[in-house]
């Protein structure tokens, strides 16, 4: 099961060991920590063994084969991997597109989500309605309607083009321009900021009010309180959102699939990594090649996640390890 390099690299990381509750007074605790741990983990372990482990190992094996879904896989060693990096220009382009997307969409989405969570955590009238309203775009998820809606916003006759025309800027069609299409997907991702916003909101709720009250007594302004209390107390949640956003954005598929009609166009400008992977696997029947792509992506995400975990000890404050 130690196929991926990820587990080994994270293994070395500080895990919540220091924070665990030691069952000091043994009392009625007849089971050891090991037994309790595995008891709680039992459903997960069963799920791993029956639903995840097999398919994962199979995909790893397939990444060294030529497999068209219909005929038995044929062992070709590392040829898929070599081909990816030395021959496939579209693959390198997909990498570039995906990294650009992640680098822009993730921070923008998180900043937006945090800002709105702060506002919608205030005690104002109609809070529930506001929260729900701002969440609506996220409810739409990967709806097929988005393909058309995005053209209504970013097409030639779209509202963005019309608004720019008011300022005398020549109308253009963002969604169908190779240099701007990716931006419409970044905006789409930022637009659907609901999930991290909810997680931020839940995190904000966990910050004890007393801290703010004490700071007020000390004469701290809102800006100071934000940096001295909110941000540090929120770091576990920020960290969580960051990790999840990195993982999810690298695997972003539906937005490009829907908006570009499954092509990643125009001119491969929105050819996300997983979209290309999907096209190779299901449209071109190169499941072996697609599997190799999947494992390279796993390494990329794994390394970045490991880096985030490594850095977390310098900036993430857990309540349980604080004392």
């Amino acid at each position: 099961m130690t196929l991926s390099p990820t587990p080994t690299s994270i293994e070395a990381l500080p895990q919540p060991t220091t924070s665990s509750v030691k069952a000091r007074p043994r009392g009625r605790n007849i089971l050891s920590d090991n037994a309790w741990g595995y008891l709680f983990l039992a459903p997960w372990i069963i799920g791993m063994v029956f639903f995840m482990a097999g398919p994962t190992l199979v995909s790893f094996y397939l990444s060294f084969t030529s497999f068209n879904l219909l005929e038995p896989p044929e062992w070709i060693a590392a040829k898929n991997y070599v081909r990816l990096f030395t021959q496939d220009g579209r693959y390198l382009n997909a990498l570039r597109v995906t990294f650009t997307y992640v680098a822009l969409a993730v921070p923008l989405n998180l900043a937006f989500a945090l800002a709105l969570a702060m506002v919608l955590n205030a005690k104002i009238k109609g809070l529930g309605i506001y929260r729900a309203t701002y969440y609506i775009p996220s409810l739409l998820g990967g709806s097929v309607a988005i393909a058309i809606l995005w053209r209504q916003v970013f097409g030639f006759d779209g509202i963005v083009s019309q608004a720019l025309a008011v300022f005398g800027i020549e109308g253009s069609s963002w969604v169908s321009s190779p240099s701007q299409a990716l931006w419409t997907l970044i905006i789409l991702h930022v637009w659907q900021f609901g999930s991290p916003m909810i997680i931020f909101l839940a995190g904000l709720k966990q910050i004890p009010v007393e801290l703010y009250e004490a700071a007020s007594v000390d004469g701290a302004g809102p800006w100071r309180k934000f940096w001295m209390i909110t941000v540090p107390m929120l770091t576990p949640v920020i960290f969580f959102n960051l990790i999840l956003q990195i993982i999810n954005s690298f695997q972003a598929f539906t937005p490009a699939f829907i908006v570009s009609g499954g092509s990643g166009g125009p001119l491969d400008s929105t050819l996300f990594y997983t979209l290309y992977l999907y096209l190779q696997g299901f449209a071109n029947f190169r499941m072996g090649y697609a599997s190799a792509m999947a494992w390279v992506l796993l390494v990329i995400i794994g390394v970045l996640t490991a880096l985030a975990f490594l850095s977390s000890r310098y900036w993430v404050h857990y309540d349980d390890s604080a004392k």
Binding site: L69, S172, S173, P178, D268, F285
Partner: protein, 451 residues
């Protein structure tokens, strides 16, 4: 099977011990319950047959197909057909997964993977059944059947005939005082009409949509039509490209000039299309639109003006893209296949026959998937169809009569070459690369794909 299991249990129990009253009652009850399905199937007086059929389409097509299936089931007591249908999105992914999992339907439409499925022996070869008369194709156009063959064998029958075609907006033609072209038009005629309309209409309205209109997603077929006009095929029988850089250059240049002249729209407009519902003929930006004819009635429903279906222009007597043969051919995407692993191949073949020859089925189905394969059936339903479908019938008739029968089927990677064609058109249209550069890149990438 359930009855057999219970019977053996009964024997075992009786052997071991006579059993108490309560246990016996219980067992008898269980036996009776388990026997029920058997009894009900006996009541039908037939072996129970369960089959699965899959297709993609829209509501109208689903309704008509379900009604046809009801009729077929009524003719086959004991048969239950489970219908698996939906839109095109994800259809092929699911079908491929089902094939990989050994759980594919008995009868199905196939969207993209026909070559791969045939190559791996997953689809049933039909010739045997045609020879034995179980599948009667005597009223079908022979050259159409010829073009469907893969390595000389037939694996599918069209569930409605269709071809790449041009839809024209008759109102824009009339308003621009441009005479409508006839079915025998050529590329010069096309360019001339398109220019005339572009000149007669206000800025922002074009003569025709560009050839790589994404909704068509079949941007390789028009090129293939052009090659066939010169008596060539797009691929060699062993799956290599069968055309030259000159021919590809000629093709790209023809479209590039029209684009630069403002006769077809610039790249940003063409790329805006998500499907034919956002195509320029619907939004009123172009008077001609190339796509497969099977969408005729849907396109008409969305378009503001009355449309007409025209066959694809040919190179005959043309200076541009010249060729002395008629290149277009019947290339229906709506074809019906049988799973080679089906347990009920005979019933599946009966269904194909029913689809092709049953007048009752045809009266239900009309032209939900294009013009019926059998000429008899086509004549039977023609009075019942709309003007646009009538115009489609005329076009199909023309193509059937004129098409060159020789077809070399695409290799398994044909879909990827088509994508490459699409991207190459885009590169030129967006000005990312000149024609010479694009052509040489096309051949490089094609080699990589086809290797």
């Amino acid at each position: 099977m359930s009855a057999g299991l219970c019977a053996s249990e009964e024997t075992i129990v009786t052997k071991i011990e006579p059993g108490t009253l309560s246990r016996r009652t219980l067992l008898m009850g269980a036996t009776a319950l388990a026997g029920l399905p058997l009894l009900s199937s006996l009541a039908h007086g037939q072996d129970k047959i369960d089959m699965r059929i899959a297709w993609w389409g829209s509501d109208d097509r689903h309704q008509k197909t379900l009604k046809m299936i009801d009729l077929f089931e009524a003719e086959h007591p004991g048969l239950t057909m489970e219908s698996q249908y939906g839109g095109l999105i994800g259809y092929q992914d699911k079908l491929s997964t089902e094939f990989a999992g050994g759980n594919a339907p008995d009868i199905m439409q196939v969207s993209d993977s026909r070559e791969a499925l045939i190559k791996s022996g997953r689809l049933l070869e039909l010739d045997e059944y045609i020879n034995s008369g179980e599948l009667d194709l005597s009223d079908a156009n022979k050259s159409v059947l010829e073009t469907l063959k893969v390595d000389g064998k037939l694996y599918s029958i069209p569930w409605g005939l269709a071809s790449g075609c041009y839809f024209i907006d008759t109102k824009v033609f009339a308003d621009s005082k441009v005479e409508e072209p006839g079915l025998d038009w050529n590329w010069d005629g096309f360019a001339e009409k398109a220019k005339a309309i572009a000149d007669a209409t206000p800025d922002g309205v074009y003569g025709s949509a560009d050839i790589w209109a994404p909704a068509g997603t079949r941007s390789f077929y028009p090129f293939e039509f052009f090659l066939r006009g010169r008596g060539k095929t797009a691929y060699t029988p062993d799956g290599k490209l069968n055309f030259t850089a000159d021919e590809l250059t000629e093709w790209f240049t023809f479209w590039d000039e029209l684009r630069k002249a403002g006769v077809v729209p610039p790249a940003e407009i063409t790329a805006l299309e998500t499907g034919f519902e956002t195509s320029p003929i619907v939004t009123g930006r172009a008077a001609m639109y190339p796509i497969n004819s099977s969408i005729a009635s849907s396109l008409q429903a969305l378009a503001p003006n009355p449309l007409k279906v025209l066959s694809f222009p040919s190179g005959i007597g043309s200076t541009a893209l010249s060729g002395d043969k008629y290149g277009a051919f019947i290339n229906s995407s709506m074809q019906v296949y049988v799973n080679a692993a089906s347990e009920h191949k005979d019933v599946a073949i009966q269904f194909l026959n029913f689809v092709t020859n049953s007048p009752d089925a045809a009266k239900i189905h009309l032209m939900a998937r294009g013009v019926p394969l059998s000429s008899k059936i086509a004549a039977l339903v023609s009075p019942d169809v709309s003007p646009i479908e009538q115009s489609m019938v005329d076009m199909i008739q023309y193509v059937q009569e004129h098409a060159v029968p020789e077809v070399v089927s695409w290799p398994v990677q044909g879909g990827q070459i088509q994508d490459l064609m699409q991207r190459s058109h885009q590169e030129i249209a967006f000005g990312q690369s000149d024609i010479a550069g694009t052509v040489s890149k096309f051949f490089d990438e094609a080699e990589f794909i086809l290797e």
